[in-house]
Assembly symmetry: C2
Homo-oligomer: 121 residues x 2
DNA sequence: TTATTATATGAACATATATTCATATGTATA
DNA sequence: TATACATATGAATATATGTTCATATAATAA
């Protein structure tokens, strides 16, 4: 009798040791994985990392951010929108100017922990 | 005397309130921002989120991961390489099969905290 | 050696993403 | 009202990224 690829592998690499069905059942759902990924993705760009880091120091208007980051107003604005979409930052309007600040304590925690982590290795 | 764009804005949106030069001086460097971004970027894809989540349950060989994730071997292998590059996972070879496991306690912490965080909002 | 199995990897392709440009929107001021 | 200013946004473009396909590598067994 022919063995299928799966049968063969289950014998060798895991079959007897792991209950794949059980692990598969416990695995995070695709939609949840997407949500989590989108959240981390927001921190996965150097411009946005800088924005978060800057706003950790102080609330700032868009123009200030363009000065601090040395980037175009449009680019900064686009990234702020993305960060707003995942609720990492919020805005406060005063006349013509819009002040941005962090809107998620969790981000500050994670961010600080990760900075420390990456420094120490 | 003409006012430049900057002069004008400094008066209105921040000039008197924030010392931009000081904030700029404290801002994370571009290379550090890139490192941090790359680290978070590794968690910014649903497939890799699933891999991390699965390995949190148990060490597993590549073939097991393909079964649990219901994905092609090549795709899984490529993503594992990426996770290895940022040292989130490590491998252990036994004969033909390669067992992967988490290689970063920090990842587990961050990951768990974020799952909780996203569930609660 | 030859065949089989487990994993890795380069190339190709499709999709996603970041920045720029031009312009729109909203607000204050002359 | 007309003008200037601060920010937002759609379109375009270049680059990055994820998956697939074909194949390479490494280890084992026949």
């Amino acid at each position: 009798m022919e063995k299928t690829l799966n049968d063969a592998c289950e014998e060798t690499c895991s079959g007897s040791e792991l209950d794949l069905a059980k692990i598969k059942g416990k695995l995070i759902s695709s939609t949840a994985a997407l949500e989590v990924a989108d959240w981390f993705k927001a921190l996965g760009d150097p411009t946005r990392v800088k924005i978060i880091h800057a706003l950790q120091q102080s609330e700032m208007c868009v123009h200030d951010l363009t000065q601090v980051l040395e980037m175009g107003q449009s680019a900064v604005s686009h990234q702020l929108r993305l960060l707003r979409n995942v609720r990492m930052v919020k805005r406060r309007k005063v006349g013509k100017t819009v002040y941005y600040s962090l809107d998620d304590n969790h981000v500050e925690e994670i961010f600080g922990q990760t900075l420390q982590h990456l420094k120490h290795e």
